[in-house]
């Protein structure tokens, strides 16, 4: 959610409040000075037995108060503060509308699936006790163990990494080396590089060299630059922190490596890096404001939307939430849907199903591809899955 407008409004309120406070203080100080001045005059008159016209003194004090005009001084800034506060309140109401029912519709969700999604989120986050407790409460303790098991291993590895122990991670990497290589990951090299630096940091040059020959040389052709830098570190044994390679010792490298490992681990499990629940919530938070705005403006369209297959307004989501390609048919200029999927024609070009049915008169005749001179038989078109 875009909170900068709220922050700006809040900053304006605090600014006005400070201004009002300082103006009030200023007026009080002026009044105090005038009173103190009069008291001094009265005091000195008492001490010297001078005759003093108290009425004149008090009239002068009254005149100076009128000149200072504390009320009108404070009134202006107080007014500005009240305006800013009112605006801020309205802005909060507008942005944090508690009634979101306009922007969603009730859909029958399979309770079992929903429970699985919630439990998966807990296990994904490493909150195993909460996950187990939740699964036993909803009466599905038997599926908990299956869901939990791979994440337990992952968090054991991550916990060891927090203590700068890479053994479990390296064991996992060597077991899954082929799969990781197939997916184009270089996590194995990153783990070995980190271990190499760790060995070197402990001051054993020969051990580090032996480690490099054992574990780094296989990557030399594909990751030459990395290997050169790591081998360059050997020149600075015992003083790596004062070397050109001191960045390799940065604690943030461990965090990055742990994040990368989690990403690759989830990838091998066929899971996303973030739990489906957290992705849904994050995407929902982005989508909700424009939908609420639309439903407020188009209050009467609520029933229409209930029967729609898609959102009533185009909603922009960040790239991180874009998981699938979108196909727009070049003939109908419409986006493909489940009912109207993209179809691959025998010539290699793609149109959506309805366009093909239209052009082939419901699959009764051969038609020409709009992009090339091929004759297309609708029966030979294959559905594409993005």
């Amino acid at each position: 959610m875009e909170l900068s407008t709220i922050k700006d409004a809040f900053d304006r309120v605090t600014k006005k409040q400070k201004l009002s406070c300082s103006k009030t203080q200023e007026a009080i100080d002026q009044i105090r000075q005038e009173i103190e001045s009069v008291l001094d005059t009265l005091q000195s008159a008492n001490n010297t037995d001078h005759e003093l016209d108290y009425k004149t003194v008090l009239n002068e004090l009254k005149a100076s108060f009128l000149l200072i005009a504390p009320l009108s001084q404070m009134e202006g800034t107080q007014k500005e503060l009240n305006v800013a506060l009112t605006k801020y309140g309205k802005l909060l109401e507008k942005h944090f509308n508690p009634d979101i029912s306009k922007a969603y519709r009730n859909i029958d969700i399979d309770r079992h699936t929903l429970n699985q999604i919630i439990a998966n989120h807990f296990y994904h986050q490493g909150l195993f006790e909460i996950g187990d407790h939740f699964m036993s409460v909803v009466g599905e303790p038997e599926s908990a163990a299956i869901m939990k098991f791979p994440f337990v291993e992952m968090y054991q590895i991550l916990e060891a990494m927090q203590n700068q122990n890479l053994e479990p991670a390296l064991n996992w990497a060597s077991t899954n080396g082929d799969k990781l290589a197939q997916s184009g990951s270089d996590i194995v090299l990153k783990l070995h590089s980190m271990q190499f630096v760790k060995v070197l940091q402990n001051g054993s040059r020969e051990e580090a060299l032996h480690y490099a020959r054992m574990h780094l040389s296989p990557f030399a052709t594909s990751h030459m630059t990395d290997i050169q830098k790591l081998m360059g570190c050997l020149l600075w044994t015992g003083k790596l922190d004062r070397s050109p390679y001191h960045a390799l010792l940065s604690p943030s490298n461990w965090d990055k490596l742990a994040e990368e490992l989690k990403r690759q681990f989830c990838n091998l499990l066929g899971q996303s890096y973030n739990s489906p629940l957290s992705v849904t919530v994050a995407a929902g938070v982005q989508v909700l404001p424009p939908l609420l705005k639309f439903m407020n403006v188009m209050a009467g369209k609520k029933n229409e939307w209930q029967s729609m297959n898609q959102l009533p307004v185009p909603v922009e989501l960040d790239r991180e939430f874009q998981f699938h390609s979108i196909f727009v048919c070049p003939v109908s200029k419409e986006q493909a849907t489940e009912d109207n999927p993209p179809m691959l024609m025998s010539c290699g070009h793609v149109l959506c199903k309805q366009s093909i049915l239209k052009m082939s008169k419901n699959s009764t005749k051969v038609f020409k591809c709009p992009y090339c001179p091929f004759d297309i038989d609708a029966a030979q078109c294959k559905q594409l899955y993005f």
Partner: protein, 214 residues
């Protein structure tokens, strides 16, 4: 080969000049026996002190070429102490030759020790960092000859370093770093290319190889 319009074949060339050019080339490259034979055959004038310096240079050159860089350094310093002090690049190249020799002899611990003490200080200057990383990467391989940096183990690389050292010594002895022969060939090539462009010929550019064949 087309004749040049400037009719250079009418120019008379003094035999002595040619002899001196050839002789300077032989001396430059320390071909001692060839120098002696050439002087005997042509009666060319014998340069002063050339033999003593040439002997020293020849030994240094050959030590560098064989990869015995420490001996080459020792003899160079005997000949002229400040040559290497004033030429950090050359000093680095010679030390790295010795490092390569240790790696090739599979003396890895020794190579590592040598690199840390002798090559390490160069790492403070960014221009040596990349080279240093290349050399250090050799250690990652049980068979460095099969590594992507195998060129550092080649005779060509040693030849390159030996040539640089030879030129530095010649410059120190107030002798030309490049032979007259090399300079003349370079100049002739440039002149021919310019003339060919000037004449506006569409044919291939001047080639020294083709010219020597004709």
């Amino acid at each position: 080969m087309d004749l040049d319009p400037r009719q250079y074949e009418n120019l008379a060339v003094n035999d002595n000049d040619i002899h001196n050019i050839v002789l300077s080339y032989l001396i430059h490259n320390c071909y001692k026996e060839s120098v002696e034979s050439f002087i005997a055959c042509t009666g060319a004038k014998q340069p002063t002190d050339y033999l003593e310096d040439m002997d020293k240079r020849k030994r240094i050159f050959h030590f560098a070429l064989e990869g015995n860089a420490l001996k080459a350094i020792e003899l160079t310093e005997q000949l002229a102490k400040d040559i290497l002090e004033n030429n950090k690049d050359l000093q680095f190249d010679l030390l790295s030759l010795h490092f390569v020799e240790l790696v090739c002899s599979r003396k890895c611990t020794e190579a590592l020790e040598f690199a840390q003490t002798k090559l390490g200080p160069f790492g403070k200057e960014p221009k040596y960092m990349e080279k240093l990383e290349d050399f250090m990467a050799l250690l990652a391989y049980k068979e460095p000859e099969k590594s992507p940096m195998f060129h550092l183990l080649s005779l060509e690389y040693r030849q390159q370093v030996a040539d640089s050292l030879n030129r530095a010594i010649l410059a120190h002895l107030n002798l030309p770093s490049y032979t007259a022969m090399e300079r003349l060939i370079q100049q002739a090539t440039v002149v021919r290319q310019c003339l060919s462009q000037e004449a506006g010929k569409d044919g291939p550019p001047f080639s020294l190889k083709d010219f020597l064949k004709s």
